[in-house]
Symmetry: C2
Subunit: 409 residues, 2 copies
């Protein structure tokens, strides 16, 4: 891995060699950040060579990733999600500039998290492990279970016993050993950490493992390539524990440092009004974030105690970013808008970026002529209960033409 220089601690700043098993700073326990040799990357790959590659998965960006190769182990097709030009949506929200939607709900297990989990499987393999564990009820868990199953790896997934049965069922279908913990999420996380330590499993707990973010950043590499390396003014993304927005930013920074793009977009960081600790701190330009309650329907970003605030806050600050908080009603309106104008079905957290964009345009936070990419992070089929809430009521009538004519005119 000549492209990787090492791993630098985001807290104490020390640098250690990149090792798949060293996932936190050995000195202070801080989150690590993988550092690259951009001159080396530039010497190995040009934009034009990249555009000629036939591999449409996230692994087409191998030179920008902290891996030597991905070997012959079977993999799900992660990445290569569509970027749709969204003219009707732009018109409806009053944006006269170009708008694109990156639909990452089109990944194998239907969320952007597949990019992180696919990376976790490769790094586990490098570390010589065949069992991977995490604690989560959401997209991290299902993507880990699916991607690990494809590779033939075993997974242990710890979930609080109150987890929705449908999400648990999906994990079990992927052959994961699901451990329902009779307690809170904190209890569940603690037990998983203890078990990972005891059994020596590979750790896919969010934020703690810096390689996950390196997987997530491929969404930005794709956006750039799909736009012919001409960057938009803004990229809107929903924010929960902070890992995704940090990954998005890392992707753009890498491309910029390697000379693949000439400008960097500004980030629009969108959180739910009912749970916005990162945006609250970012808006006050402080790193001192304060835990919040988790009052939002968008469960994938309902994170009152974010585990990656440092990288997220730095990303927003460095990009001269914008913060927007949206209500659940605004999220539901964005779900309907994405479906009706673009044929994209998003889960609540998946539509949150678009909800924030709409609000930013309407309130004049961004100029109407701006060009924007809004990332949809997860598919609406993940959360049908909230889709029912957002959808409204259909027309109902007896099977008679006269009644239909009455209703439709």
């Amino acid at each position: 891995m000549k492209q990787v220089i090492g791993a630098r601690c985001t807290l104490c700043g020390c640098s250690v060699p990149a090792d798949p098993e060293v996932t936190v700073c050995p000195k202070c326990g801080g989150i690590l950040d993988i550092e690259y040799d951009y001159d080396y990357i530039r010497s190995r790959l040009t934009k034009y060579e990249l555009m000629d590659r036939t591999d449409r998965t996230m692994w087409r960006y191998m030179e920008f990733l902290p891996v030597e190769g991905i070997g012959k182990t079977p993999r799900l097709r992660v990445g290569g999600s569509p970027l749709y030009k969204a003219d009707r949506l732009a018109a409806e929200i009053g944006l006269s500039g170009n708008l694109w939607i990156k639909d990452d709900g089109q990944n194998p297990t239907a969320s952007l998290k597949d990019r992180a989990s696919a990376m976790a499987v490769v790094k586990a393999e490098e570390a010589g492990k065949t069992i991977i564990a995490c604690s989560s009820t959401g997209n991290a868990a299902s993507s880990l279970a699916g991607n690990a199953a494809a590779a033939g790896f075993k997974t242990y997934i710890f979930v609080p016993s109150r987890a929705p049965k449908g999400k648990v069922a999906q994990l079990m279908m992927f052959g994961a050993t699901v451990i329902l913990v009779e307690g809170s999420y904190e209890d569940t996380f603690r037990l998983s950490a203890e078990a990972i330590d005891h059994y020596g499993w590979y750790n896919r707990n969010a934020a703690i493992n810096p390689y996950l973010m390196e997987g997530k950043k491929t969404v930005s590499l794709e956006i750039a390539e799909q736009l012919g390396f001409e960057m938009p003014d803004y990229v809107a993304i929903s924010v929960g524990d902070g890992c995704t927005i940090a990954g998005v930013w890392k992707g753009f920074k890498d491309l910029y440092a390697a000379g693949f793009i000439r400008t960097l977009p500004r980030l629009i960081s969108v959180q739910a009004k009912g749970c916005c600790p990162i945006n609250t701190a970012a808006a006050a330009h402080t790193m001192d974030w304060v835990p919040q309650e988790e009052n939002t329907m968008a469960d994938s970003i309902a994170v009152g105690v974010p585990r990656n605030p440092v990288k997220a806050l730095r990303a927003i600050e460095e990009s001269n970013g914008i913060t927007v908080n949206v209500s659940d009603e605004e999220i539901m309106a964005a779900m309907r808008l994405l479906g009706r104008t673009q044929g994209i079905f998003a889960e609540p957290a998946g539509a949150t970026g678009t909800a924030g964009l709409k609000k930013a345009v309407e309130s004049g936070l961004i100029e109407k002529g701006a060009s924007v990419v809004s990332v949809v992070t997860g598919n609406g089929l993940k959360d049908v209960a909230n889709a029912i809430k957002a959808a409204g009521e259909p027309v109902s009538l007896p099977p008679r033409m006269d009644k239909l004519l009455e209703v439709l005119g």
Copy 2:
């Protein structure tokens, strides 16, 4: 459309010019079949030219499709679904030959039906219509609603009032006007037909429109291309109203007639034991099928009165096909098998082809060394209730390490 000769009636055999609005035989009302000039196709496209194309959607096969072009109207990214080599699954079912899974649940609205609906939208546009209607609660409806929304077309979708709320919600999110009909499916279908007639909407009712099958056949064009035009011995597919298996067969026949492949695979037609009118007739080598009750969890193929029996039965007969009927228990076992060994989450009808393949190998219906492609037609997120039924119960314990050690050893 120089590649299209015309439309031939599957009942009376007469030929009429291909017209997007003529969807049944004007003489006898029979289902039409689109006919191509294979010499012309061969003169316009070679395998090697095809392999150089960068468009990864179903529209890369333009010369094989009954369209002039797809214009500038926005489209969802339909097709280009992954074909996974499935060695672990093959080993588990005792197949020593090559096995591939075509995961068509990776389409935009998560089923193979997107291929048909994308075609319906293009043909509606050709016919100068901007409103499309159908009666369905299933994948046909959601794919129509999604693909039409992306193109900016309006949809009217008729569903029986007993339709699951989640499926209705998905339609409404795509902006469809959903009409809940207080009556049976037959009542619903009749009212939709009357309304389509009255308002002059474009008709996307399954089987009646021959262009839908032309969209579906692209799954076979992709399978062939993904295998370098070396065909497997068998292709396994679940069967409901018969349109999909007929489309699959049409795709292979087209490629064969145009000289792109040298052999044709045999079809493995898989139905649910509780509803198998097509397989019952096919096994008896008769076209006289008998309606059946609809007793299966696999709702997408629970069709007691199939609307495309003629094309389906001919496809099975022509391919020297095999019929297999599977129980709901066998379907659930196949769902678990696909998830655990390949990381693919299938809805019950989506796993039915694999269930049939397993049974065909185990019972000696096909040789153990055979090469096979099994098509997964829809994503498991479409039907979480049945996934819960299939998944089994997870381990449950208090948040204590000693309890975990007891359970895991």
